[in-house]
Symmetry: C2
Subunit: 401 residues, 2 copies
Amino acid sequence: MSTYHAFTEAEAIAYARRMPDLFAPDSELTSREIGDGNLNLVFHISEPATGKSIILKQALPYAKVVGESWPLTLDRARIESETLMIQESLCPDLVPHVFAYEKDLALTVMQDLSDHVIMRKGLIEGNRYPLFAQHIARFLANTLFYTSDLGMNQQEKKERVKQFINPELCKITEDLIFDDPYRDADTNNVPAAIRDAVETIWNDRELHLEVAILRNGFLTHAEALLHGDLHTGSIFIKEDSTKVIDPEFAYYGPMGFDIGAVFANLLLNYAAQEGWSRDEQARADYRGYLLGTIKEIWSLFHGEFRSLWSLYGVDRVQQSESYQDWYMQRLLRDTIGYAGCKMVRRVHGLAQVADINQLQDEAAKERAQRLALQIGTSLIKHHRHAQSIDELLDIAIQAVK
Amino acid sequence: MSTYHAFTEAEAIAYARRMPDLFAPDSELTSREIGDGNLNLVFHISEPATGKSIILKQALPYAKVVGESWPLTLDRARIESETLMIQESLCPDLVPHVFAYEKDLALTVMQDLSDHVIMRKGLIEGNRYPLFAQHIARFLANTLFYTSDLGMNQQEKKERVKQFINPELCKITEDLIFDDPYRDADTNNVPAAIRDAVETIWNDRELHLEVAILRNGFLTHAEALLHGDLHTGSIFIKEDSTKVIDPEFAYYGPMGFDIGAVFANLLLNYAAQEGWSRDEQARADYRGYLLGTIKEIWSLFHGEFRSLWSLYGVDRVQQSESYQDWYMQRLLRDTIGYAGCKMVRRVHGLAQVADINQLQDEAAKERAQRLALQIGTSLIKHHRHAQSIDELLDIAIQAVK
């Protein structure tokens, strides 16, 4: 009965009805499959009589992207549910609650967040989320600090590294973020209008060196349990609530990779402002909001992370101020570098972003793509020299001048 | 029958007699327990009639150091035997052959190397080993390259990281090498004569920062399958043969830690020359031999590692010359830093070295200890700025001027 097979809606309902404490055994339930069908089935199960609802998320044994299909481990459902449970223990209000995980079915039963919207969509609609910076800074500070050698027992951390070895999902990142965009790979989707800029990237050896260095960090620096795919499509949001979802790519990696992912996706929207039909002033205002959010996230993250470190650091050797200064500077540099990598791959790599791709005006879309490449490559090239988050902001500001 | 219990000599003989292809079932065997009894039982089993012999090494469930005893995982026998088998596949002549490993007994049956001597002893006796540099350079180049993201499938490497998670043994290193020597810890054995120099180390914040940075690398940089304890007591040697033994501390860590361990132990002998009863010229000659060996090891290692990389590198992104230059410079810096850490802990930490401790002349012993601390701390402080192996040699040369 619990041998793996992809659920039908009827099976999803039957399964949900058996969940104790959620629904009565005879309850009337409805199901709607709301996944995109590329990686997972996502059943929205609700009980109209009470208004109660939950999500059943089931991993599929393959991935479909642009028509291609390849096998993909079901173990990612375990990684995702176990990561969510650790994250919930650290910041309960910032991730969906997991009611149950069933290994054999690669199935996770979790809190329904239908009252939230995907943040990427919210940003495309021009919304502002004044609490987002403090929410995501708290998420990053707590999940990165408390899963690292700074904030947890260092022997238990090694067992966590083992628990979250995630070769197949890491491979996707290693190829699609750190390799394919920098060569003429089959997986790329190069927009014809910007082919010249993309070819410049393929031939830029200075850039390739910096990307190789960042990829080395991704391959070897087991610093903290990362979300691993923290773009604005992995964030559910509404005015007073932020929920980080979908940590299938979780593994022990460099902290800057998660922080950089957030900044990159805010900057991709910043670039996409070229094409949204607002007047100049509205565009400048929204860009100011996006950059202000980045600055606020870094500042709050930095403050909270160091405060956790001072109060709850487990390691005498790492408690000195000079070491913390060194560590935070290195983290800033990683963050800026990974932010750049996360931008570039979204312009001409396999998986692109709606912020830019939805633009109707072709000339504006081209400007947005060039802008994203310019900011992304500048961040990558500058990353090892960075001293302050203001340098990231300056790169973005100079690029639209 | 195979439930864990410490073997008697009779049991060791009975076990050996059952090994197929080694001894006949009715063979006359003798056993001699030659371990130091602190961590492992080591039975030397021989058949006088044929001259055949083997080693049975059995891990004990505790460690004894200076009278203290604490529990220690038997899993280290698995780590050791699996590491030896990987190393043998990469450089068959440089490690003992493993005939069998039996998990439940924490028992490894391996090649007898009684015709070799422990290298530390050989150096103390003033011997020279002209083939050592090329042997150990080949060992380092092959074991580090082929277990890293440079030389093996990067997804399989992640499974290897998992296989060699080694929390208990790493904890010993994290404490005894990177923590205790830099504070007034109970585990230290501070020689009274050099207490002033040791206290200077306890108060040197610049030094502490560099040690914390190196410890961070040990905790998080999963670059290659290290031996993890590669001092001259872990090397069996004779004129034409070098065998690296005892990789119980193996885990995925920074490559420079293994290379640095070799250099540190040659430099400890260099410092100990203060007290060996040779004339000035003989002392200077032997020191020249030791430094020449370090230079030759680095040069051969560097050449062989890069040559393997160019020929057998698995990773397009990491094949560029500028990246390889960056990587090798970083590796040199790590090597110099870890060499310094490995020296300092051997002067006033828990586990010291016979090279210095056997010195009879108290004044000479004190000079040797001060010299080792001076070289070690200079290497640590300089490590992030190093450009060439000559800087390590200069630090050693200046220290005896």
